[in-house]
């Protein structure tokens, strides 16, 4: 087993043991492998950098490199696609540890020699790793076991080398809960945070964005390729998407809205006109309405047949007739399931229920939701037509004090 810090700066010797150059960096190809192979070295000779293929290397250890021939082909070093330089791009940089769900800094890189090549097996994130590099050469610290992070758990490498982000690493990230992905992305710099979100698939990216503060949603989507941003917006819940569009510059918002698919576009567009701090600004358009003439059994059948059910189906909203929006009553899913399938909805629904008007202050509505222990509250216009619903999670965001929600305390003021 070898550490990067033990190799850097060591001599490169030819067959006769003559020192011909020094090791400046180790090149690794990131790919589908969990443990990426070493493809070559950057050799430094007379203040210039040369590429040394791994096929020319017969030994790589703490004493340095032994070449397998006397002929030294001095090709200048050029980075190829998918290649990372361990010293330059990995050492001292941050990465996401998918297993530990945290952002760590790489103190050293572990390399293991296998039957026919060298592979990067892990990132040393321990104090010992730091000490190994701080202390003079040959000075060995404690023999305590070091904490090495398996390279297979690296979800994202926060480096500025643009070409190295990989599909496989975003798959690893997707295994995490969007709340965790959001938290990890926020711990990185804003460039890298955006990169993390962009590397996810549309659905996960949308869910992750929903867990971020509005300013960050706006920045990330605003800087993204428009087509991609529109795709992600379609996956977001309409109320969140409308909030983001409302915060973007006007031209950008209209462009993104224009790029969205018909249905999602209409859902979002409907929410845009309402002010942020009113019930209209808080509501979402994802809800289920059922005509009052239906029986309980028909209603349940209709729910089952629905192509996509909204997140919030704990309440079903009973309207006057098909194509009508006149709100007549509310049924909790629980009562629907428990009721006799032959009963008409009219007899099961509650006609006395809490509702909000579109221009009611958001704060009051949120308080009402908390007070009555509701999961959602319908929003109606002057003629009692339902426009949307406000769900309890959006209400909570208003009610909870800001610093309570940020579990990691802010550094300054």
């Amino acid at each position: 087993m070898l550490y990067l810090s033990q190799v850097l700066g060591r001599p490169i010797r030819d067959l006769e043991g003559e020192r011909v150059a020094t090791i400046k960096d180790v090149i690794v190809r990131l790919g589908a492998d969990d443990h990426p192979p070493v493809t070559g070295l950057v050799a430094r000779y007379r203040r210039r950098d040369f590429f040394l293929s791994r096929w020319r290397v017969s030994e790589l250890n703490q004493q340095g490199v032994r070449l397998n021939s006397d002929i030294l082909d001095l090709r200048p070093f050029v980075r190829r696609e998918g290649e990372v330089l361990l010293a330059r791009d990995v050492l001292d940089k941050q990465l996401i540890d998918v297993d530990g769900k945290r952002v760590v800094r790489v103190n050293d890189v572990q390399i293991i020699e296998t039957s026919n090549d060298w592979r990067v097996t892990g990132a040393d994130v321990s104090l010992q790793g730091l000490w190994r590099r701080l202390a003079p050469h040959g000075f060995v610290g404690t023999a305590r076991a070091v904490e090495v992070l398996d390279w297979a758990d690296v979800g994202y490498l926060a480096t500025d080398a643009a070409t190295v982000q990989l599909k496989s690493s975003s798959d690893k990230l997707s295994r995490l809960h969007p709340v965790e992905i959001a938290r990890l992305a926020e711990a990185l710099s804003y460039h890298h945070g955006s990169e993390v979100v962009e590397s996810l698939d549309d659905e996960t990216a949308a869910e992750t964005l929903e867990e971020m503060p509005p300013e960050h949603q706006v920045r990330i989507l605003g800087d993204m390729d428009e087509e991609r941003a529109a795709d992600i917006l379609e996956w977001m819940s309409p109320d969140e998407a409308a909030d983001v569009l409302g915060d973007l510059p006007e031209e950008k918002a209209e462009e993104l809205l224009g790029l969205m698919e018909g249905e999602e576009q209409a859902d979002v567009a409907e929410l845009l006109p309402y002010e942020d701090d009113t019930a209209g600004g808080l509501m979402t358009t994802e809800f289920v309405t059922l005509p009052r003439a239906l029986t309980v059994g028909e209603a349940l059948a209709r729910l089952r047949d629905m192509a996509e059910t909204p997140n919030m189906i704990y309440y079903l909203y009973v309207v006057e007739a098909e194509e009508s929006w006149r709100l007549r009553g509310v049924i909790a899913l629980r009562s629907l399931i428990l009721a006799d399938p032959k009963m008409p909805l009219e007899d099961v629904m509650r006609t006395e229920f809490q509702r909000a008007t579109v221009d009611e202050p958001a704060n009051e509505v949120a308080q009402r939701i908390a007070e009555y222990n509701l999961l959602a509250l319908p929003v109606v216009d002057d003629s009692e037509e339902i426009l949307g619903i406000i769900t309890v999670d959006d209400a909570m965001e208003i009610l909870l004090p800001k610093d309570w929600r940020q579990r990691v305390p802010k550094l300054f003021g």
Binding site: L91, S189, A253, G262, D267, P409, F412, G413
Partner: protein, 441 residues
């Protein structure tokens, strides 16, 4: 649901037009809000955090000792402070990373360890000065520091670790506004404005130990190493990006000028009262007496409240910021919500700084004002390490792209760096070999 969607789609076009109106409205509202926030941005807060216990003590003694004759320093120091703060704020906005992060990523472990050590020493010094400030303030109010300092240390530690520090922060900030009283006091003391103006435009320099000591202390207290780390972190924390950086630049310069204006009036009011009367500032009571033209016999209480607020504020923030920087740079777990087992280095550093600060401040018969000045000198001496690092980072094109320093900016920044370094070296030489001044005749 399907019916509903169909109906909505039909209305889609019309709604889109309505939507655009909504967009316009919200955007308008947001910009107004940003304008207001810009006034109290990171630059403003950081520059004025410099006017803490050490700052007030330094400038009060400058005014008392040298009258108006050192006022001229304020002009170059405004430029230097602004230039240095602006570079760090810009790095924060462009890279989205803190100073400690950047040092680690660009210069590796050894240089990071060196800078962090310098920062740790400098910040330990400043933390000591904050607790000394608490001691001085409470003694003016009639409470012995053997009671007040340990209590303050426990309170600060507890508030920060419990995560409730932010709630009381504002109270401390309000208390420290008392120092604005120096502005009024300066006018009420009726200084000869012509000599004030003369002092502001005629540079004087003496190659003496006392003079250099004061000089380095002024530099150290105005351009403290922690402020660079602090301003960059808060810019990152606030989520400022390269695109909306221009507001932050304004904020940094406005904050710098505002902070120096307060310093100016501290020097003028102490110059007009203490210097005239030939009083040296050896204790907090003497520094307070410069507020007499404003507050009469309440001057001491007023001064004590301001000093206590400013010191309590920094006594919490500074050890915390240091612990964050060090953990960040060396990659340790950080955050006050962690336990000692999870984040030993982070909480250890924080606790160590608070404990050391408080322990030194309760040493019996400690010459408080002198200690305050010495800690500022340590700051000044360690500043070159940070400044050189900042200069290398900010001119790194790979990091900053087009946002590297311009020529004029580089000139001012390098002049600052070289002069500060020169002063530090000179001061160290003069301290070790007192006879050296004779060489210059």
């Amino acid at each position: 649901m399907a019916e509903r969607r169909a109906a909505v789609r039909a209305a889609g076009r019309r709604l889109m037009r309505r939507g655009a109106r909504g967009v316009r409205r919200t955007v308008g509202g947001r910009q107004r809000l940003l304008m207001i926030l810009a006034v109290l941005g990171p630059g403003m807060i950081t520059a004025n955090a410099g006017n803490d216990a050490g700052g007030v003590a330094t400038f009060a003694s400058v005014g008392a000792e040298f009258g108006y004759s050192l006022l001229w320093i304020l002009i170059p120091i405004t430029i230097s402070l602004g230039v240095v703060q602006e570079m760090c704020a810009r790095m924060g906005a462009v890279t989205g990373k803190g100073l400690a992060d950047l040092i680690r990523e660009r210069f590796g472990v050894r240089w990071t360890a060196l800078v962090m050590l310098a920062l740790l020493i400098a910040n330990a010094g400043v933390t000591v000065s904050e607790f000394v400030g608490i001691a001085a303030a409470t003694e003016l109010l009639g409470v012995t520091r053997f009671v007040s300092v340990p209590m303050a240390a426990i309170l600060v530690w507890w508030l920060v670790v419990k995560g409730t520090y932010q709630r009381v922060e504002r109270a401390f900030l309000l208390m420290s506004l008392v120092f604005l009283g120096y502005i009024v006091s300066a006018f009420l003391a009726r200084p000869e404005w012509s000599s004030v103006a003369w002092g502001l435009v005629t540079p004087t320099f003496k190659l003496q130990h006392a003079f250099l000591f004061t000089f380095v202390a002024i530099v150290g207290t105005t351009i403290s190493p922690y402020m660079q780390v602090y301003v960059q972190s808060s810019v990152v924390e606030k989520g400022v990006t390269a695109d909306d950086y221009s507001k932050t630049r304004t904020d940094v310069w406005v904050g710098t000028i505002f902070a120096i204006v307060i310093v100016f009036f501290i020097v003028v009011s102490t110059g007009a009262t203490l210097h005239k009367a030939g009083i040296h500032v050896d204790s907090a009571a003497e520094a307070a007496s410069a507020l007499r033209p404003l507050a009469g016999r309440y001057a001491e209480s007023l001064f004590a409240i301001g000093l206590l607020g400013a010191s309590m504020l920094a006594a919490g923030v500074l050890p915390l910021a240091t612990a964050y920087s060090i953990s960040e740079a060396l990659g340790f777990e950080k955050g006050v919500s962690r336990s000692f087992r999870e984040a030993p280095i982070f909480l250890g550093t924080f606790t160590f700084l608070v404990a050391v600060g408080a322990a030194i401040a309760i040493i019996p018969n400690l010459p408080l004002i002198r200690v305050l000045l010495v800690t500022q000198v340590i700051n000044g001496l360690l500043l070159p390490v940070v400044l050189f690092t900042v200069m290398r980072l900010v001119n790194d094109r790979e990091l900053m792209g087009e946002q590297v320093n311009g020529n004029l900016h580089n000139l001012a920044a390098w002049l600052t760096t070289i002069i500060v370094t020169g002063l530090s070296v000179l001061y160290i030489l003069i301290t070790i070999f007192p006879g050296i001044t004779r060489l210059f005749g």
